[in-house]
Symmetry: C2
Subunit: 236 residues, 2 copies
Amino acid sequence: MASNAQFAEVAALAGDPARACMLHALLDGRALTATELARVAGIAPQTASGHLTQMTALGMLTVEKQGRHRYHRLATASVAHMLESIMQVAAELEPNRKRFVVGPRDAALRKARTCYDHFAGRLGVALADALIEHGHLELTSEAGILTDAGMMFLNEIGIDTGPMLARRTKRSGRVLCRPCLDWSERRLHLAGLVGSAICTHSFEAGWTRQLDGTRAVLITPKGERVFREKFGLRIS
Amino acid sequence: MASNAQFAEVAALAGDPARACMLHALLDGRALTATELARVAGIAPQTASGHLTQMTALGMLTVEKQGRHRYHRLATASVAHMLESIMQVAAELEPNRKRFVVGPRDAALRKARTCYDHFAGRLGVALADALIEHGHLELTSEAGILTDAGMMFLNEIGIDTGPMLARRTKRSGRVLCRPCLDWSERRLHLAGLVGSAICTHSFEAGWTRQLDGTRAVLITPKGERVFREKFGLRIS
DNA sequence: CTGCTGCTACGGTGACGACCGAAGCATTTG
DNA sequence: CAAATGCTTCGGTCGTCACCGTAGCAGCAG
């Protein structure tokens, strides 16, 4: 196997606790500076810089200079996908390990958060459930499809389905989505093109707001109303 | 993030070259002994034993005792999926790295091999292409669906679609598949329930044979004929 | 029983790498 | 200009872990 060394290299980079911390912080798709990432991982800036250099050199991250700041983000969606799949294995193995203290911050994360480019947590799961219940979506552990009714529904509530139309499958006229297993809820929710569009539109329309500097998502009163009236759901 | 430590632990285990070697060897779903795995990784049996103990303790592998042999295999499909996603990142990053000598064994792997439970390599890609061309399958990077015609086709050539019917989605009546990106061909091929069924049936019907102790797959003359006549494809 | 094989437990060695302090470069601010 | 901020490079220390030699334990053959 030619790529064995590179495989090990990638996995080893993800395998260090400090680097894992930083990668997690980047999972929501934002770009963060070296100092911010150092703080998240609990290490000195010099150390973080070294880690970031390595990951960038290998191509897992990309850097964007802006003044005296350097913003780091995940290089590709497949890196995010890899991280999710590792989280999946980590979550379902060793269930006997203690699942300990849920601080207030964790509570917010459990309620609603972003997962690279889509919603996760109870919000993500509830949205997916609501779409399924109304016949707008079909979802299994392997894949998902948006029905014609679902596409009309999204149009109705103001979500641009242009990019989706461009990627309809030839005969079915349906849009394919990607399911994503939630580590806190252990339930499927919606990723892929459709999940991304819903997430983006929710922020643009003011239904949700990013909470300070975390992945946690706050649902605004307006969002509460929309989710209740249009999707028919109520987040506890 | 509660699961950060476990995340790092899982990734670190996959990140050692010797362990990565062993995991790759197990990717086809077979169960191998500690000695075999040691030989593959190029290390002493004692060392391999230690590695296997660790991975088993964490739950990535399962062990089956049989006389004085102990057979190791990947614990779950999600472990295999994780390995694939890491391979994906490893393959698409650092394209400037030398992609060096392709021995005869690599050539066989490139032509046709198993990828956990389905076909990959040129065979896998060609099969997916043929199914798509005849309108039996629709595939994007996010998901795939089997058309009604596709299901009839599979029935015709002797592939049991019972398990698939059981997992039809409610309204569409179609079977959802999982796409899998090939590290050698860099093209999508077919995984998931349908990919698995095709692979299994190919071995049972004598269309293909496992090559000695590797992941490489040999296409029998009978298989050549079937693939040509039924699928309309010719593997170079 | 003795000998053989497959595997695992233990101890010591050696190497790699994560970490931080100190120093240096680039950019913005006063 | 000088001072401050964000970041990186360099050196040295320390802990961890992969590795193998030796030894010991199970299953099988004669």
